[in-house]
């Protein structure tokens, strides 16, 4: 598939995403908001885990920091909680910045540890942040959490008020519709940045660190610095995702950001294929939407029982499904969904001189709006209809990235 086709495909997806609020009901809109928020978090995590090779179980902790920073900075001081009363846009930026700052503060640990050791250390972060959320009640509202101010930009509110009535094509655009476009913008920008970052000098340095720290150091890459940078960037993504989750829920509470949430982020990127931006988005769609959809339509599905009746309730069913899915992907599907997609395209495209190199080459961009061929390779004009697989272009690099 040529790069042009890929871009057209991405564009078509974008048009569909832009048009969806015209037809979807509130349930699907709400689901879409959660999916887009989760997708940004997953893209951040795939940069850290998939590209830089640093296992993190603490993603939910950074998302929590983003969510609470947004809630606190934009909130008003009430009898129970304090608030900063800042403009929402500033709050959103602060959410990303503070989360990134905490990621930077954690980088002395991140720089010293590797692989699963780092995963264990970040596991501690989740519990520590949860403890803080429960105890700093003046800022966080404690166990019950606090409500979140809706987003607004120059008098235009992303809620059901201000303006009270706004319609496009005969469909009334309420808070959910308006948030949809805000989230879509954020998601597209986040994916585009991540795709470019991965293909850039920094991204390739990260991949090098993942494959061999010794070799990376020998090639002049500051290993500790690269790892810290990956942590900071991924934390900023998590912070943004957290603030978006807060907006989508309209409320923040510590239970949203438990260890389970961290594991969910990991499940998303593993299902999608480690290191693939598009894969992370698909994984986020699957993991986030599955329990919601099963719960919404449980009465129509004969094998599901009502929650609490002792049978297979929707949340149990969805957890088992994605537990099994993650096992199946890891055992049978090398490179996750993105890897499978790559192999499929390969086969349809009649294969190329690159042979099987694409299967483990995480630098090969996935489809979607962010999937751009690495500009650094610069040897082919993207519009040249040469029909060869992009892996052929990146082949010289794939030697060093294949384990």
């Amino acid at each position: 598939m040529s790069d042009l086709l890929r871009r057209l495909g991405g564009l078509a997806l974008l048009v569909v995403a832009l048009a969806l609020p015209l037809v979807l009901n509130d349930f699907w809109l709400q689901t879409g908001l959660f999916v887009m928020a989760a997708a940004i978090g997953a893209v951040g995590l795939t940069l850290l885990v998939g590209v830089a090779g640093q296992l993190s179980l603490g993603h939910a902790a950074f998302a929590a920091i983003g969510a609470y920073v947004y809630a606190w900075s934009t909130g008003e001081t009430t009898t129970s909680v304090t608030g900063g009363g800042l403009p929402p846009l500033l709050g959103l930026a602060l959410a990303a910045l503070v989360a990134a700052g905490v990621g930077a503060a954690f980088s002395p640990v991140a720089g010293r540890l590797r692989g699963i050791y780092l995963g264990l250390a970040t596991l501690g972060l989740v519990f520590i942040v949860r403890h803080l959320l429960l105890n700093l009640t003046d800022w966080t509202g404690g166990f019950t959490g606090r409500s979140v101010e809706s987003f607004a930009l120059g008098g235009f509110s992303f809620s059901n008020r201000d303006p009270d009535y706004l319609a496009v094509g005969g469909v009334e655009f309420e808070g959910l519709h308006r948030l949809w476009y805000l989230f879509l913008l954020l998601a597209v920008v986040a994916c585009w940045l991540a795709g470019n970052l991965r293909a850039s000098r920094t991204g390739r340095a990260w991949a090098n660190v993942r494959d061999s720290e010794t070799a990376a150091a020998a090639m002049g890459i500051g290993v500790a610095r690269a790892k810290a940078a990956a942590f900071v960037v991924s934390s900023a993504y998590a912070g943004t995702a957290g603030a978006m989750l807060a907006l989508a829920y309209g409320r923040v509470a510590p239970d949203v950001f438990s260890l389970t949430a961290s594991v969910d982020f990991l499940v998303m990127i593993v299902l999608g294929g480690l290191g693939s931006v598009a894969g992370a988005v698909v994984g986020a769609l699957f993991v986030t939407a599955l329990p919601l959809v099963l719960a919404e339509y449980s009465s129509a599905l004969p094998f599901l029982a009502a929650p609490g009746s002792g049978g297979l309730d929707p949340s149990t069913a969805s957890r088992i499904v994605y537990g099994v899915a993650i096992i199946a992907v890891l055992v049978f599907l090398r490179g996750g969904l993105a890897g499978a997609g790559r192999r499929l395209r390969h086969r349809l495209g009649g294969g190329g001189p690159s042979g099987d190199a694409g299967t483990t080459d995480p630098d090969t961009p996935g489809p979607g709006p962010a999937g751009r061929t690495a500009p650094a390779s610069g040897t082919t004009d993207p519009s040249t209809p040469d029909g060869s697989h992009p892996a052929a272009v990146t082949h010289p690099r794939s030697k060093e990235t294949t384990r």
Partner: protein, 297 residues
């Protein structure tokens, strides 16, 4: 003073139970290089089997079934899933175990529901008194059993061919394989041992003073991760030391919570192990007794 001593003894006996779980982590890690995130679910599985079976077949037979069941599940996970990973790296294995954990834990949670199942341990809710200090009998039994278990482990690893083979396989798999040690066998033994230790720990974690088997047990097994990390990833003696330290820390922090609350906040006992873990990792990335990783260029 006696309050302090009670807290210390409580902490040490709880720490010994944690060290059983931590040793399970360490053994699986050394024998197959897998970070076993499903270990908590296996602990819960062991306790659950005892709780379900003891009314019909009695406590000790149920215990035996639980030991076998937990060991078997471990061996099967290794043989069917870990060995068939498409991309056999430690990271992929760890995430695989998260998937296994989700499946096991969800299914067990569904079966247990909102009940708290008693495990029916023969020592019941009795208490042993040493002067002014009172300890639950279950904790005393746990301490005794743990000491015996670790003595058996020491014997296995230093005096038997199988144990020495496991150590050789952990030190250098390919070379051990060339020396005629069957890696599939050492790996299976490791997983089985970890399962047995997990089931034993599960019963002690769910008998008095704990009310019984509930899904949260799997989470308290997570508290053994700091103990394992603290001791060193590949060291069984380290697991004992780490378990004792973590048990002591959380018992003291919980015991003196009234005095610490203004500074550290309520419920710090649950977080203290993780704080200790991060600090230790910062100072000694390979734990207190783990072997240091050497990088040669």
């Amino acid at each position: 003073m006696s309050y302090f001593l009670t807290q210390v003894l409580n902490g040490l006996s709880y720490g010994l139970v944690l060290s059983l779980i931590a040793a399970g982590f360490a053994i699986v890690f050394t024998s197959t290089g897998v970070l076993n995130f499903a270990h908590g679910s296996i602990v819960l599985l062991g306790a659950y089997l005892v709780a379900v079976l003891h009314p019909t077949i009695g406590f000790w037979p149920a215990m035996l079934v639980a030991l076998f069941g937990a060991a078997l599940v471990g061996v099967l996970i290794n043989a069917l899933l870990v060995r068939n990973l498409a991309d056999p790296t430690p990271g992929a294995a760890a995430i695989l175990m998260l998937g296994v954990d989700i499946v096991l834990l969800t299914e067990l949670t569904r079966r247990i529901g909102n009940q708290v199942l008693p495990v029916g341990a023969p020592w019941g809710a009795s208490v042993v008194r040493f002067g002014e200090i009172a300890l639950p009998t279950g904790r005393v039994v746990a301490a005794g059993v743990t000491v015996v278990a670790f003595a058996a482990l020491w014997y296995l690893f230093s005096r038997t061919d199988l144990g020495v083979g496991m150590r050789a396989a952990a030190a250098d798999g390919p070379t051990a394989s060339l020396m005629g040690i069957r890696l599939s066998r050492t790996a299976a033994t490791g997983w089985a041992l970890a399962g047995v230790l997990a089931a034993v720990a599960g019963v002690f974690l769910t008998s008095f003073p704990s009310p019984g088997v509930a899904p949260t047990i799997a989470l308290s097994a997570f508290a053994a991760i700091p103990a394992w990390v603290l001791g060193g990833f590949d060291s069984v003696p380290g697991a004992v030391v780490g378990g004792l330290l973590i048990g002591l820390t959380s018992a003291l922090v919980t015991g003196y919570e009234g005095d610490l609350e203004h500074v550290l906040g309520a419920g710090f006992g649950e977080v203290a192990p993780y704080v200790v873990m991060i600090v230790v990792l910062l100072v000694r990335p390979s734990g207190l007794m783990g072997s240091k990783e050497a990088v040669r260029v």
